[in-house]
């Protein structure tokens, strides 16, 4: 009798291929949405920190990415902006990457329209400024000197929501959505470590492991890592069919499929070993 466990243990890999293909294709075709569950993880930490800020807090969002990493970072931008608006905070947008300013503008202006917020009252886009970490240090002394105008050349003194803001001390949280350098690391080292401003952020899945160490040392209040982080924030904010949540569905199904394979493989292995031992 052919041992069924030996057979399973040496399963033709083409069966695995078919199941992986199906676990990706079916969710795409059926627009399946798998409910996301957020555990006690860094994305929840960021959400709760934002939630606990007193209404009317000044929050910097630094859009430090470009179109190539939009699939992961733009959903984060939209979810974070929505949350800040809903909580009644004021958003100061800026960018360490040249193309980030426009991507930030997209997120802020479309949500501002739909949530009835007003530019220069509830949000402003200061635009891109070169210099990375050095520039951030200067924000610690005077923000107005670095940004005499916003992205549309409206002078600082003409923007109501900025009156009363002098430097980073007047900022309650910085959120950097970062695709690399300059990005979160610059904000942590220059604004977080020097001026003691809480730093949160979002990043691509590739760079997340490197940034996780800052959570361990409590140099960051929270972090959204990759598509999962974006989906988490969408879930927490209550966007039930968000871009990232939809993108996560084939991922979840395929991950479960692979994990099942690993379990089956191990069960087969142990049963085989047991029989081998009995013989």
């Amino acid at each position: 009798m052919a041992d069924i466990f030996t057979k399973i243990g040496n399963l033709d890999r083409r069966i695995i291929f078919v199941l992986i293909a199906l676990s990706v294709i079916i969710p795409i075709l059926t627009d399946l949405i798998i409910p996301n569950i957020v555990g006690a993880e860094p994305s929840r930490d960021l959400f709760e920190f934002v939630d606990s800020l007193p209404p009317g807090s000044n929050v910097i969002i630094s859009f430090d990415y470009d179109p190539s990493t939009m699939p992961e970072l733009q959903p984060m931008a939209e979810a974070v902006v929505r949350h800040l608006f809903e909580k009644g905070h004021k958003i100061i947008g800026m960018a360490l990457w040249p193309q980030g300013a426009a991507l930030g503008q997209d997120a802020m202006s479309s949500l501002s329209d739909s949530l009835g917020k007003e530019q220069y009252q509830d949000w402003v886009n200061l635009g891109y400024k070169t210099g990375g970490g050095v520039m951030i240090v200067r924000l610690g002394t005077s923000m107005r000197a670095i940004f005499p105008t916003d992205r549309d050349n409206v002078p600082w003194s003409e923007i109501p929501m900025l009156q009363g803001i002098n430097n980073l001390d007047d900022i309650q949280l910085v959120i950097s959505l970062s695709a690399g350098d300059p990005g979160i690391i610059a904000w942590v080292m220059m604004a977080g470590d020097r001026y003691d401003i809480p730093i949160g952020g979002g990043c691509t899945a590739v760079s997340a492991p490197q940034l996780y160490t800052y959570l361990q040392t409590e140099q960051m209040v929270g972090l959204l890592g990759g598509l999962k982080g974006a989906a988490d924030y969408e879930t927490l904010v209550g966007i039930d069919n968000g871009q990232a949540i939809r993108g996560m569905s084939p991922q979840s199904v395929a991950h479960i499929a692979i994990m099942l394979f690993i379990i089956i493989g191990n069960v087969a292995y142990f049963m085989q070993k047991k029989r081998g031992g009995a013989r």
Binding site: F17, P35, V38, E41, Y212, S252, G265
Partner: protein
Amino acid sequence: MRLIIPLAITFTSGMIMILNFFIPHQPFALLGDNLQEWYMIVASGAIFLGAANLLHVHFRKIRLKLKNWKYSPVTIVGFLVMIILGLFYGVTENLPFDYLFMNMVAPMGATMFSLLAFFVASAAFRAFRASNWRATLLLTSAFLVMLGQVPIGAMIWDKIPLAKVWLMAIPNTAGQRAVMIGAAMGVVATSLRMIFGIERSYLGGAD
């Protein structure tokens, strides 16, 4: 003797690169910058060597009617079409060369790349067996991280995503650092042996 001049060139160019890194003053700045560009030119120029070899191999296959020779014309035609269109139209966007790249070469690359999704699954199925305690560790940490990556992890226990973060931040960082520092020492020692001509087998062995 035939190796003396090549070894001298290796030594000189290696030392120029090193000095250029530490000394901003002329002539090292200029020498170093030029050498890097020269190196790029020589390496790019060498591609004709490979192209000639590719054509040689496939024409030979056809001539000798070797196994699978019937596919060789496909390679030759594909190669020549790209070369001719490239020389004729240039690499400007939306012209034939760029069109074929965007619609054939790039999708083929993306498709080969995406085969990895299947191969990570089959490799995981086969390799992640708890056959000894080290394999068990490999399996457990991979499994925990995968669980933490998708909602099902938090469904089972809300601390599992944290376990993922910890595994990536601590053991993974430690392991990567150890590999990187060790490998850097290997690179430094091997480079030194190259620059000082102690290792010369790449030139064809003979001393």
